[in-house]
Amino acid sequence: MLDFSILTENLDMYLEGFKTTIIASLIALVASFLLGTLLAVFRIAPFKPLNWLGTIYVEFIRNIPLLIIVFFFFFGLGFDGLTSGTIGLTIYTASFIAEAIRAGILAVPKGQMEAARSSGLSYGQTMRIIILPQAIKIVIPPLGNQFINLVKNSSILGIVAGLDLMYQADLISSRTYVVFDVYIFVALFYLILTIPLSLGVGYLEKRLAKSN
């Protein structure tokens, strides 16, 4: 049976960590979405150097462990744990989001680009107003996956003293000598974030499908 006194007696630490996890996840979510979208456009833009830049970024970043990216900022550049973790999460997740959005862009019929361009809109305007809104709608399910992964991956902050949920749990565990119960409560806190995220993505998918 779970020992709920672990939760109640350390509630302030759990909540402190929970708050940090939320902040780091939110910042990384918005930033990785923007960066990922930019990279996706880089990869398909009619300008070779941008294609290369996008490809190098994606292939390099998604093929190394997240932990090493975080270590780079923490040990290499000397940022604090929270900053290193959030930047690392952003950079890492952006490579996956870029691939999802690129797939979405390629799934938008070619005629959309032609119609918009032939009306005098620039490439950038066409991307922003015509192509990306349709592309993102198509890839909402895989984007949802990436966002859920991002929230869970934020537990990496615990390793570099990022003050998040995992870090606080480590402290509680080493103080109380309890392992199992402490981390079960951590899992529950993550679920509080990820389940609504899942539902939200599902809702968005349904609502946007209607306008078609």
């Binding site: 032609e114 032939s118 009306s119 005098g120 809104p133």
Partner: protein, 242 residues
């Protein structure tokens, strides 16, 4: 106003357009016909630089279309285009489809753009669909919206790339009627189509193209009564006798 001079186009080793020479004057309706794969759509799409010519000169009002120094976005404002598959923006309403380019490209105000859009929607006969999404319209209605979208930019010329080929037979008439009205108002039009009735009635000139070459250029009366080229005779006999 549109001038092809010795235009060639290749896809790799394959030559799609062979020494195209054609000039289209203001107010003229030119219909391009020919078998599929003959290069007629490619030729049309070169005019607004959706396709790039490989050799030769293509000018619009004296401006070289394929020149690096030409501001293609500026040139395109002046050229409306209607596609076989409409290509309306599915995430925008009919009104938004029409007002987008006037607002973003010409810098018109929301109200001004809406007023123009409603005027042209009324003109193509579907004023009541302003707030619908494209998916809620029939093919014929969608194509009429696409025409209104082109007209709202107040272009000097309209290009039509097989505008009725994707439509149910019942809906072809309503689109052709809009195009006929437009032609009568003096719009410069270049039309790729298989609609021989339309060509006969509206075209000032018919251009017959096969295997990337212009084989014949004539008034509809001349062309239908007495095509000079064997290939044109064969083509006509195949599409008229059924």
């Amino acid at each position: 106003m549109i001038e092809f001079k010795g235009v060639n186009k290749y896809y790799g080793d394959f030559q799609v357009l062979k020494d195209i020479n054609l000039s289209i004057n203001k107010g003229e309706v030119v219909v391009i016909i020919g078998p599929s794969g003959s290069g007629k759509s490619t030729m049309l799409r070169c005019i607004n630089h959706l396709e790039t010519i490989t050799e030769g000169e293509l000018t619009i009002n004296g401006t070289l279309v394929a020149d690096k120094k030409t501001d293609i976005n500026k040139l395109r404002r002046n050229i409306g285009m209607v596609f076989q598959h409409f290509h309306l923006y599915p995430h925008k309403t009919v009104l938004e489809n029409i007002t987008l380019a006037p607002k973003k490209v010409l810098g018109k105000s929301e109200n001004e753009a809406k007023e123009t859009a409603r005027y042209y929607l009324d003109k193509v006969g579907i004023a009541e669909k302003a707030d619908a999404y494209p998916s809620q319209l029939s093919g014929g209605q969608q194509q009429r919206v696409a025409i209104a979208r082109g007209l709202a930019m107040n272009p000097e010329v309209m290009l039509f790339d097989e505008p009725t080929s994707a439509l149910d037979p019942e809906m072809i008439g309503e689109v052709l009627d809009v195009m006929k009205a437009l032609a009568k108002e003096g719009m410069t039009m270049v039309v790729v189509t298989h609609e021989m009735g339309f060509a006969k009635e509206v075209a000032d000139r018919i251009v017959f193209i096969d295997q990337g070459q212009i084989l014949e250029e004539a008034t509809p009366a001349e062309f239908y009564a007495n095509p000079r080229e064997e290939r044109a005779k064969l083509f006509l006999s195949r599409i008229l006798n059924h």
